[in-house]
């Protein structure tokens, strides 16, 4: 176990934001996450990103959509995720990514952690938010990150490291929630 237990909700929220950005675009996340955690984008980052994450064009790519990693019906998964987001007051923007993209799910966790941060002291609220985080991680985000990690050996360094660190970060957060 790491120093994770000592991370504040706000810090975790920032991590989630960085992760979401890193999976959204080739050089994303760099304004939030240190280079010791995620390597700086190489000059070929744009191509490397597609090679890693755009299965419709790349031999070795892995989809970032949960529905590609699940035997569940995609529409049903969309519905479930939209219900999750809606439950916490969120509505999908018209031009948003699809709800099962890992960056959207990370963004949702970013929001829940931020909300946890604002709920300091309200034990009922903290309980609800942590149960939600745990359930969401267990049923959606963490299995997705594990599946993506399985493809990552051939990825360029930045994205290989990203997938590994992302999975570990989610695993550690899950453990904290389990122990909490």
């Amino acid at each position: 176990m790491s120093t994770e237990a000592s991370l504040t909700a706000l810090e975790r929220s920032v991590f989630y934001r960085g992760l979401a950005e890193a999976f959204r675009s080739p050089s994303g996340g760099t304004n939030v996450l240190d280079e010791s955690w995620i390597p700086a984008p190489s000059p070929n980052a744009k191509t490397e990103f597609l090679e890693a994450f755009e299965p419709s064009v790349s031999k070795t790519a892995c989809s970032l959509y949960e529905s590609a990693h699940s035997s569940r019906d995609q529409t049903a998964l969309f519905e479930e995720l939209i219900r999750w987001y809606d439950h916490f007051g969120l509505q999908r923007k018209a031009k948003a990514e699809l709800p099962d993209h890992i960056s959207v799910e990370l963004e949702f966790m970013h929001f829940l952690c931020y909300r946890e941060h604002l709920s300091e002291g309200d034990e009922a609220a903290l309980g609800a938010l942590r149960r939600a985080q745990k359930d969401f991680l267990n049923n959606h985000l963490h299995p997705l990150s594990i599946s993506i990690l399985g493809y990552s050996q051939s990825f360029a360094n930045r994205f290989k490291v990203l997938c590994g660190n992302c999975e570990q970060f989610l695993r550690e957060h899950t453990l904290v929630l389990d122990n909490g």
Partner: protein
């Protein structure tokens, strides 16, 4: 886990102090700020079940349809259910009004594919961003680029190619999304303004209905579905509507209950045959023998409708027995070569009126044979077409025909009796016959049945060929002019047309000529079209595969290659760019030639290396997009507002409304083409370039391109909706309902066939409460047909037809294309996809077999020790592919069926279903320099023939199967 990854030191300095919400994908549903939402007390949460407690309500339902050419079954109005900017489901609107109490209504139009497009549009091969190739073609190395970068690069290459090599080196390859709406009006307008070349895909699809074209001078002949309810015999021939016309099929099953006899003629006991009252098995590609046997029964039994054939057809016309040519006025007194003769009994010549079919009481002698003195003083023996035909038909007794087509004499007689006794005889048309090498002969023989009996132009009676019904404002939009004004501009074509007009020619001929002029008009201002079959054969290298055609096709008068060369030399068929010039840029607009072209394996080898740029514009990654240089993401059909042409079968214009925003950076087609013009204008200006000269010698106003494209800013890149409306508002056959109203209802019944060169051939009235009956302008109003003789024409005195003994309908044995192998590989459209759009959709696959398969009959399977589900190798002299065998009871011995449109990447191993189909061109289809055998939109071009493909199949071992890899 050695070391935690979640130390705060991994966060950048400052990231924390500035920490706030950064959420590009979400809003607060309440309308407030996300910050305020986060500060609220959160809802309770115990388990995921909690998120299911709240009622699920739709944000809206939106009227939509699918902008795909599913042709005979097009189209269907749907309600699209939207939540949070995502389409979750769709269900048929089903609001079509019953035409009259005699006939069923059209509800609820839709099929399993349309009912699951919402699933299709979010599948993982959806393209969401512009991409540029970052490695070799097909290497799978790409980089995401901005629209600006992509369009600038494409614009530069476009301009360079125009300057360096010519505007005709830029090719628009048009796929099944052509909608005759705003989307492809923008494409066509850009092509017209830049004089770049559009491929007419009908020819390489093999949908040409060549026989109808040869006979009527026109392929666009189709009725409305309701009209089938007035038929008492319906023949399904060369079609399988139970697979391919799902929303239409109830008209046939219900007509059967109404007392109509349904006949299905097909080698296999097809899904359509199961719905018939009589199934007539016939060997693949031999239908002409069967049709001619019926014709002989009609003639021999004295059932010819003499009044009809005398008035409407060329059967009474006189032919010189020495040259085989029609006797013309030029022969007789030095007059016009386009003036022909009939004879009164006793041998008196009567000139044929070119402007009017009405014989004014004159009864021609159908059997006349006599000598005629010519202008040069010689005499020549002449005979009527009918007498020549009769002589030829006598070779098709039921017994003789049975030898050719395998149908028993007893069955031929029974079918003939049904046909002869029918009060109203109709057919269900498909595009199967055109895919046989001698399909033109077959279709001519089929049409002869209807014409001999006069079963045309009445309710429930008539021959259907090819359906097309569109608005007629589209051409106007594309050209930026009113079509009717065009000839007053004094261009070459204009003067020619004025002359025709003065000669009393019909508006049908006038507009069909405009269609031809899109291919050959050097003086007009139209987009330049070219035949896709010719293009792929010549520029794509497919012709190389067909070099052995002389061995496959018996009695070819000259090698296919030589015939092709001759036709190009003679300019019988125009090819753009010409054979000695090289295509440089290809835009694949939702087209997929690397899957669809027969013999497509040649394209990558021959054509692709010549291309400086290949751009795929699509919403999904196709076999072709994988080999492109740029991939541009197009909006899916629920993400744009536009409208879509249909066929007379379902004479309702259909509209799709934008239900959700395009996914990712996808853009409507209209936006993409307009923006390309904008970028081209900007790049040209930056180079100080005002104009370039086109291959037609015209000025291409590059510095004004965007201005011209948008009609001086009236229709900018974001005005696709307004452009779609403008097209309808200037359409004579759709302007009776406002665009706003059409968007709301999603469909509107046409009130006329209009003046589009593609619809006008239907030549009939759309009347309220009445089914649509084609060709009544000719049959009731006695207007001449757009043929050489101005009549329905069975005799073709073009030298190529005389040389091949195809001047009259006849039977020719099917060739063995691909080599001397025992099995014929027929095909057909599948129930499970329209083109390849749904072929790899998981829902469809789960109701199928999940992998490509070839259909084999029991006996052929047993003879090869093949069991259902076994892996087999299918091969001939040209290629091979591997699939699983599906053994059925209904396939004719010797027949296999490869239902179409599997993507290349669904085949295990290297080949695909096209690898064994070299598809040589039939030389007679290269004819030109003729009054009606000439090129036009979707007609008059050589076809592609895969149904005569011969193969052998053999079981492969599990080890060999394993070596093929997944699939």
């Amino acid at each position: 886990m050695s070391k935690g990854v979640t130390r705060r030191s991994f966060l950048k300095a400052g990231a924390l102090t500035a920490a706030s919400l950064a959420m590009p994908n979400f809003l607060a549903r309440s309308g407030g700020s996300l910050q305020a939402l986060a500060a609220e007390a959160p809802p309770d949460f115990n388990s995921a079940l909690d998120v299911y407690r709240k009622a699920w309500t739709w944000d809206k339902t939106v009227r939509g349809t699918h902008m795909i050419n599913c042709w005979y079954q097009a189209h269907c109005a749907f309600d699209v259910y939207v939540k949070d900017g995502i389409v979750f489901r769709e269900e048929q609107a089903a609001e079509y009004q019953q035409l009259n109490p005699d006939v069923p209504d059209m509800n609820p139009r839709g099929c399993q594919k349309g009912c699951s497009f919402s699933h299709r549009m979010y599948e993982h091969n959806r393209i969401k961003h512009p991409m540029r190739r970052a490695g070799g073609r097909g290497s799978g190395k790409w980089e995401q680029v901005s629209w600006d970068d992509a369009l600038n690069a494409i614009a530069d290459a476009f301009i360079d190619t125009m300057i360096e090599e010519g505007t005709d080196r830029v090719i628009w390859d048009l796929g099944p999304d052509i909608n005759i709406g705003a989307a492809n009006a923008a494409q066509a307008r850009l092509a017209q303004l830049t004089h770049s070349i559009c491929l007419d895909s009908n020819s390489s699809n093999g949908d040409g209905h060549r026989g109808a074209f040869e006979t009527f001078g026109n392929v666009y002949i189709e009725r409305s579905l309701e009209d089938y309810f007035y038929s008492d015999v319906i023949i399904i021939w060369g079609a399988n509507p139970i697979f391919t016309s799902i929303p239409n099929a109830h008209f046939f099953t219900e007509a059967r209950y109404n007392g109509t006899e349904i006949v299905c003629i097909a080698p296999d006991y097809s899904a359509s045959a199961t719905k018939a009252d009589l199934w007539v098995p016939v060997k693949p590609g031999t239908d002409a023998a069967l049709a001619l046997a019926i014709c002989w029964q009609i003639v021999e039994g004295g059932h010819v409708n003499e009044a009809f054939v005398s008035e409407q057809s060329d059967l009474p016309l006189l032919v010189r027995t020495d040259t085989g040519k029609f006797l013309t006025e030029k022969d007789v007194d030095g007059g016009l070569e386009s003036s022909f003769y009939m004879a009164a009994s006793g041998g008196e010549l009567r000139e044929v009126d070119r402007k009017d079919l009405d014989l004014d009481g004159f009864t021609p002698d159908l059997e006349a044979a006599f000598e005629v003195p010519l202008e040069d003083g010689t005499k020549v023996q002449v005979r009527t077409v009918f007498s020549l035909l009769k002589e030829r038909l006598s070779a098709y007794t039921p017994e003789a025909a049975s030898e050719m087509c395998g149908t028993s004499p007893g069955l031929i007689r029974r079918l003939s009796k049904m046909v002869i006794e029918a009060k109203a005889l109709s057919n269900v048309s498909g595009s199967s016959m055109n895919k046989y090498f001698h399909g033109n002969l077959t279709e001519r023989a089929m049409i002869l049945i209807w014409v001999l009996l006069g079963q045309m132009g009445r309710k429930g009676a008539g021959y259907s060929a090819f359906g097309f019904l569109a608005n007629d404002g589209w051409e106007d939009y594309v050209s930026g002019l009113r079509m009717k004004d065009r000839f007053t501009f004094g261009t070459e074509i204009g003067l020619d047309l004025v002359w025709d007009w003065m000669k009393g020619e019909t508006s049908e001929q006038f507009f069909k000529k405009l269609s031809t002029s899109q291919f050959i008009d050097p003086g007009g201002n139209l987009p330049v079209w070219t035949s896709s079959a010719l293009f792929w054969h010549v520029h794509g290298g497919v012709a190389e595969l067909a070099e052995q055609a002389d061995q496959w096709v018996p009695n070819l008068k000259k090698p296919v290659k030589e015939a092709l060369h001759e036709s190009l030399e003679q300019k019988w068929l125009p090819l753009q760019p010409p054979a000695d010039k090289t295509p440089r840029i290809m835009f694949h607009y939702c087209s997929n030639p690397l899957r669809s072209v027969r013999g497509s394996q040649k394209l990558l080898e021959v054509l692709w290396p010549k291309l400086k740029l290949s751009v795929a514009i699509d919403f999904r990654m196709s076999s072709t997009a994988l080999q492109a240089d740029y991939v541009l993401p197009a909006a899916a059909w629920y993400e744009v507002t536009d409208h879509k042409w249909v066929t007379p079968l379902v004479p309702y214009n259909h509209v799709t409304n934008k239900a959700v925003e395009p996914l990712g950076e996808a853009k409507p087609d209209f936006w993409i083409f307009t923006m390309l013009a904008k970028h081209m204008e900007a790049r040209a200006k930056a180079r100080g370039l005002d104009f370039v000269e086109s291959h037609l010698g015209k000025e291409i106003r590059l510095a004004n391109l965007y201005q011209d494209m948008t009609m001086d800013g009236r229709f900018g890149e974001d005005d696709g909706d307004a452009a779609a409306g403008a097209i309808l508002e200037q359409s004579s056959n759709l302007s009776h309902v406002s665009w706003e109203e059409q968007k709301e209802t999603g469909f509107v019944r046409y009130d006329g066939i209009g003046l589009s060169p593609l619809s006008i051939g239907n030549a009939g009235e759309l009347k309220e409460g009445e089914p649509f009956i084609p060709l009544t302008y000719h049959i009731d109003d006695k207007q001449p047909y757009p043929t050489q003789t101005r009549r329905i024409q069975f005799y073709l005195d073009h030298p190529l037809y005389l040389e091949h003994d195809e001047h009259l309908p006849r039977f020719k044995a099917p060739p063995s294309i691909g080599g001397d192998y025992p099995l014929t590989m027929t095909g057909g459209h599948t129930r499970w996809s329209v083109h390849s759009v749904w072929r790899d959709n998981a829902l469809m696959q789960r109701l199928n077999r999940g992998q490509p398969y070839i259909v084999v009959g029991q006996k052929d399977a047993e003879a090869r020790s093949i069991a259902d589900g076994d892996w087999v190798r299918c091969y001939n002299d040209v290629g091979e592919f591997f699939v699983r065998a599906k053994v059925i009871t209904g396939a004719m011995p010797g027949q296999t069926i490869m239902y179409h449109s599997w993507e290349n990447y669904q085949f295990a191993g290297s080949g695909d279903a096209r690898s064994v189909s070299p598809s040589p061109i039939n030389p007679v289809e290269l004819a030109g320099d003729h009054a009606h055998l000439k090129i036009g939109m979707l007609e008059g071009q050589p076809g592609c023939f895969d149904r005569d493909t011969r193969i052998e199949i053999e079981k492969i071992s599990p080890e060999d199967r394993a070596r093929l890899g997944k699939g």
